[in-house]
């Protein structure tokens, strides 16, 4: 079944100012640590969340890093 909003989002992107892939990688660890600490990471780094909405590869790496850091937090 086709999910029209998702398909359109992939084509039209987030429509907001966003980071580049290089900027995203540069800031990803800081962003994830803020998220893991419960801080509003989007407020601290505008442009990151729109990029993650628009770039599936960066979003996947973000999700993996956040999962891994949260795993670490639980085992500390």
């Amino acid at each position: 079944m086709t999910d029209t909003p998702r398909a359109l989002r992939r084509i039209l992107g987030p429509g907001e100012q966003e980071l580049s892939c290089e900027e995203c990688f540069e800031l990803l660890d800081s962003y994830v640590d803020l998220e893991a600490a419960g801080v509003d990471a989007g407020q601290a780094m505008p442009g990151m969340w729109p990029h993650l909405l628009g770039c599936p590869a960066c979003a996947d790496e973000h999700d993996a890093l956040l999962e891994l850091v949260r795993d670490d937090e639980r085992s500390r």
Binding site: A7, L12, G15, E22, L27, D29, D33, M45, E61
Partner: protein
């Protein structure tokens, strides 16, 4: 792309060494040690990054159904090797904005993610024409269906008329056929960032064109549902 000057990163500015958490400080001291302590730290770093690489390979193993456990572990080992080299090369640029382990993990995650995506596409051609135009929901009501069809027609027209050939190729491959950005970048002999910039510019042109013919911002608001 956003201008770096516009980024509000005050809260993540480089942490003074005295404010680093004990674990991060310990990693840095060990990796900067001129003696045997550094060798042990490098072995520990590789083990840490192998764990992260295996974590990512396991998350995405459904992309490689033909690979057995040994092949997947080989991918993770290579990713951990590459990530260890990358971390050692950049360790002096670590600014303490995050835990050292989070900073190091991101290299392993990225190398493992790229390795899995490339392996999944290694024997596949990159589709540069749409296999399907996925704009019309099967479960939409009559009014919504008519609106989707109208939008689909406008969007396809915009793709064919306002984009350059390169922008169209990149948009169709990435956004319609869902080719991973780094796989496309490798085939085009360019960088992931350059390919994404092309996609970003193409999206901006399409939004501008759809706005000009009256579809945005109404549709755009619903894209955030």
């Amino acid at each position: 792309m956003i201008e770096p000057a516009a980024l509000d990163i005050v809260s993540i500015e480089r942490a003074p060494a005295g404010l680093l958490d004990d674990e991060s400080l310990s990693w840095l001291e060990a990796l900067r040690d001129p003696g045997a302590r550094r060798d042990a730290a490098i072995r520990d770093l590789h083990a840490l990054l192998l764990r992260a690489a295996r974590f990512q390979v396991r998350r995405r193993r459904h992309l490689l159904p033909a690979c057995d456990g040994a092949e997947l572990d080989d991918l993770a080992e290579h990713a951990a090797d590459d990530a260890t080299m990358a971390v050692l090369k950049r360790v002096e640029s670590y600014e303490g904005r995050s835990r050292f382990t989070t900073w190091a993990y991101k290299f392993a995650i990225m190398h493992a993610a790229v390795a899995v995506r490339r392996a999944a596409w290694q024997h596949r051609e990159i589709p540069i024409e749409p296999a399907d135009w996925p704009f019309v929901s099967d479960n939409a009501g009559p009014a919504e269906l008519a609106e989707h069809r109208e939008l689909a027609t406008a969007l396809r027209s915009a793709i064919d008329t306002v984009l350059t050939r390169h922008q169209r190729t990149v948009l169709i491959a990435l956004a319609v056929n869902q080719v991973p950005v780094d796989v496309l970048a490798e085939r085009l002999s360019t960088s992931r960032g350059a390919v994404y910039k092309t996609l970003h510019d193409a999206r901006a042109k399409l939004r501008q064109e759809l706005a000009a013919v009256g579809f945005l911002p109404g549709i755009a608001e619903r894209l955030h549902d």
